[in-house]
């Protein structure tokens, strides 16, 4: 686990330009949506767009550096090495997640700093709840990434197309830039319920309430409980999926096929 996390860390801190690269879309989309809020006379909600940009950094990292990673590792011949090593694949995935989180922090911090410097969003925070919500959201989100990573083992190059399909709708239903669940949601209750299975949805809702509306632990306790549940559920799902698909891949002889 530590070894895989360190590879991630070296990959970005050996090439600091990656920080700039990673923050491209989050900062520009955050900027665009902040300006959109300002242009329609809703400047008091500009913080939603800045927070959305921060969390999109992590969501992109989960999709492109977690979910598709094993697929790329297969193409580069790394996955065979994982399989033949005595290390557990789950430990490798957890290491990848930790490395991914630490790697994304600088980009997220820069997005935050630029957003705050340019737009001065009004914050009325309950910082304890914000910090706990943030870490639980990341735990659940990266556990989802581990599950997707396992599922993507059965894909070939379709994985990239699937990522392109998933990225925007998940951002929309999760309400990265606007409330997608609760009283202010535009979606019907059934859609809100389905969207709540995505950790980002619960996390964004709780982060917005604790960061901008001062709700403390009691206000977001249900969200925290759900996030903790989702973390555990996705972790177990990833382990089960990984085992099943690894067995299938070994039986079919496709597990280390580089390009399909």
């Amino acid at each position: 686990m530590r070894a895989r996390a360190l590879v991630r860390l070296w990959s970005i801190y050996g090439e600091p330009l990656w920080v700039i690269v990673n923050m491209g879309f989050p900062i520009l989309s955050s900027l665009a949506f902040s300006l959109l809020y300002l242009s329609i006379g809703a400047g008091s909600y500009v913080g939603f767009a800045v927070l959305g940009g921060v969390m999109v950094s992590f969501w992109s990292n989960v999709l492109w550096s977690m979910a598709s990673q094993f697929n790329w590792d297969k193409q580069d011949g790394m996955f065979e090495i994982y399989l033949t090593s005595p290390a557990s694949i789950t430990a490798i995935l957890i290491g990848m997640s930790l490395g991914g989180i630490i790697n994304t922090v600088p980009s997220a911090a820069i997005v935050t700093a630029i957003g705050w410097a340019l737009f001065h969003p009004v914050v009325y925070a309950s910082w304890g709840a914000v910090v706990l919500t943030f870490f639980l959201t990341l735990a659940a989100l990266y556990a989802l990434g581990m599950t997707l990573s396992s599922l993507y083992l059965v894909y070939g190059r379709e994985a990239e197309s699937m990522n392109n399909v998933l990225q925007e709708p998940v951002s929309m239903f999760s309400g990265v830039y606007f409330p997608s669940i609760g009283a202010f949601s535009p979606f019907p209750f059934a859609v809100q319920l389905a969207a709540s299975l995505i950790p980002l949805t619960i996390g964004m809702d709780a982060l917005r309430r604790s960061l901008f509306f001062g709700q403390g632990f009691s206000g977001v306790s249900l969200d925290l409980f759900l996030l903790a549940d989702l973390s555990v559920a996705f972790l177990i799902a990833s382990m089960v999926a990984l085992k099943a698909l690894e067995r299938k891949g070994r039986t079919d002889g496709t597990i280390s096929v580089r390009i399909r």
């Binding site: 090439e15 330009l17 990656w18 690269v21 990673n22 491209g24 879309f25 900062i27 520009l28 989309s29 900027l31 665009a32 949506f33 300006l35 959109l36 809020y37 300002l38 242009s39 329609i40 006379g41 809703a42 400047g43 008091s44 909600y45 767009a49 992109s60 190059r157 379709e158 197309s161 392109n164 399909v165 990225q167 925007e168 709708p169 951002s171 929309m172 830039y177 606007f178 409330p179 202010f184 535009p186 979606f187 019907p188 390009i259």
Partner: protein, 280 residues
Amino acid sequence: MLSFRSLFAAAWMGVQHDLAWTAPVASLLLNVVAPFASVMTVSIIYWFGASHGTSAFDPTHLAYILVGAALYAHIAAYAWVPTTAIAEGKNLAVFPHIYITSRSTAVYLAGRALSSFVISTVTSLLALCLAFFAIGSVLHASVPLLVTPLSLAMLGVALLVNIPGALGLGYLLGAYSLYASKFEWSLPGYVAGLLMVFSGALFPPTILPWPLSAGAAALPFTFFISAARDALIYGLPGEYAVSLAYCAVGGVIMLAVFLQVYLKAEKRARRDGVLDRRLA
């Protein structure tokens, strides 16, 4: 350099690449998902902001944002195709087979971009139609779009006139990709993000600080989106013609300049031997 046969072969390869990874109809429909979600996201932001902000909800403003969001996604979808054609081509050893032919790789990139233009036109317009109905049922708002044979023909002409500018941008990014081997994958995000901010897709460029506002207002993409709005929302043929003329002139200039940049980069890349290197 120009060969319609090569151009057609490259375009067909692009269609195969973009649609044949699964059942073509399924992949076309899957390609609608991202622009639809993107258009819905900005529409909901407007709905939420206008409902809880200081200005009143204005359906015409919603139409303004809807059309802009669908079209910036369209431009972004095909402007970065040359980049991915080179990056993925190097990675999967396709690009070396292109560059050893007697044609310049510029023809191949033009073919790939044109096929993507066709696919992206279909998917963006489908996304726009779906969003139009979804906004009606989810946000309970009607979007005042002018859908007549004339307005659709005007939109079609605007889409075609925008090709040179987008292709020029594609060549510029492609020139970078010839030499890059790590960061080119992030370019689509940058292209989409920059277009969102600077093409007047979501808000008038005039709200940007000077000189950014002046630069954004002079982009051919800004004129293209403005012309499309004149056709689909305001029904202003005069304004449309002016915007289209600026778009055409700016696009041709961009194409001429950035094609030269690409050809020079290609020549140099051949000399430096980086065209077939996965890691340049």
